[in-house]
């Protein structure tokens, strides 16, 4: 049975009276694997933060798991775009992952051995187990991103939001990473912001283009394996998405209105 996990209606968001998102409608169903694309400054990160309840919309309705996002944010795994925050912070990779086991009001207590095992497992899943005792600042950008993915996984999320999770991972690593996501997608709904739609093409089920307004390309438009996808979201807010795919003639997705 398919039911909606995220429902957004008529969302408007502006930052210092500069409009970032306008009239956004979006429904994401359980089990979906959505790629979010669009130009820089188009509002992708903002939209994720609205879904997480970190930002409040000016108007419109946002429901996640049929509740206000603030109430359910602990059920969402989040991998932020900027993993280079606090480079010199005295914290090990394992302790960063253990942050995912934080529960409100738990007070002072050591992490249980179960939490530790789960954290080590999550690091293992992203091939970072041997770096668990390294200070986070010693790791490369790509390694940090894997640690942040492990931190999101260890929360046992029902929905995973990833903001350009492979920006500093090489091509081979990206391939492995998206295989992992594909595997996770069997149980978890995933939304991933990505510039590099090629790497992700084999896994995704739908695409949304965000450029102040939002355009959704559903499953039906994306049959076949994509090997190349061009997009060009221009200022006049149209978003023609072209695909070249195996077994399909070169085709262009429907123009938005």
């Amino acid at each position: 049975m398919v039911y909606p996990i995220i429902e957004i209606q008529n969302l408007n968001f502006s930052y210092n009276s500069h409009p970032v998102l306008r009239d956004v409608d979006l429904t994401v169903n359980q089990g979906d694997f959505v790629a979010m694309i669009g130009p820089n400054g188009g509002g992708k990160t903002t939209l994720l933060k609205v879904m997480l309840g970190l930002l409040n919309a000016d108007s419109g309705a946002v429901r996640v798991f049929n509740k206000p996002p603030q109430d359910v944010s602990h059920r969402i795994g989040y991998v932020p775009q900027d993993v280079n925050i606090n480079k010199n912070f005295p914290i090990s990779a394992l302790d960063v992952v253990l942050m995912g086991k934080l529960r409100p009001g738990r007070g002072w207590s050591r992490h249980s051995s179960r939490d530790r095992l789960a954290a080590v497992d999550a690091l293992d899943q992203v091939a970072m187990k041997k770096f668990r005792d390294h200070r986070i600042g010693e790791l490369s950008g790509g390694q940090k991103q894997r640690v942040f993915v492990a931190r999101a996984l260890v929360t046992d999320p029902e929905l995973l939001l990833l903001d350009e999770p492979t920006a500093s991972i090489d091509a081979k690593g990206q391939h492995e990473f998206y295989s992992l996501l594909k595997e996770l997608n069997k149980t978890i709904t995933i939304i991933v912001v990505s510039h590099d739609i090629m790497a992700i093409a084999g896994s995704i089920k739908s695409v949304i283009c965000v450029n102040r307004r939002l355009h959704y390309h559903g499953q039906a438009e994306l049959t076949g394996e994509m090997i190349e996808m061009m997009y060009d979201c221009t200022a006049d807010e149209t978003c023609p998405v072209e695909l070249i795919a195996h077994g399909l003639p070169h085709r262009v997705l429907h123009k938005h209105e």
Partner: protein
Amino acid sequence: MFEALQFEFMRNALLAGLLASIICGIMGTLVVVNRIVFLSGGIAHAAFGGIGLAFFCGWHYMVGTIGFSIAAALIMASITLKARHRADTIIGVIWAVGMATGIILLDLTPGYNVDLMSYLFGSILTVPDSDLWMMLGIAIGILAIVVYFYHDYLALSYDEEFAQIRGVRVRPLYFLMIAMLAVGIVMIIQVVGLILVIALLTIPPYIAEKYSKSLIKMMVLSSLLSAMFTVIGLWLSYALNLTSGASIILVAGLGFLASFGLDYALPNWSARPGK
């Protein structure tokens, strides 16, 4: 050193220094990792407004100063949260206005003349027992709160947004941290002076950060370093007949330079990656 300890004022000075080291080790670590050193400077200077207000109104010294500092600190903190890009300017304004207010209020208060130098560099050699007890109480209070909320403070210091998503009550805890900072600073100012507060809040945690793999280790190491600087500084000031607060700061400053030398000579020692 040991013969110096037969004097009660030296024993009290040592105890005051050690208690200040504990408070500064804990709060300084939070200040450095949250990058609110400037905010701490603002609190320390604005506190002078509280001193002036307390004398002008005839209130008890501590009531006026702590109340005024907490108020100024929370105003600065809420502006920091609301308009980050303007925070440094606003803190600068409150910093200067608070201090000027204090001086004008003291001018207007007949008969009182607080020595500005003792406010800047403190009077660690004249700490009464009552202040020691108060410092002990505040040190225990801060220790208890930070230990209880350790995981929450770790998360909100490292990644505030993630902490919020995990359900950590980021705002109340942030304001609680700032309030603790204000109380700690005021308490230490009247003992060791505002310049020493800022030195102890920043130098030991900066050094400790390089050699620590966790926040709690950084707090412990900072406290130990502060204590070391304080003891050496006090001993030098006694042996060479120098101003105590300034001696402690210079020792801390030499420690700061030595840590750079150590980075250069033994780069593998520090846990911090190369720049």
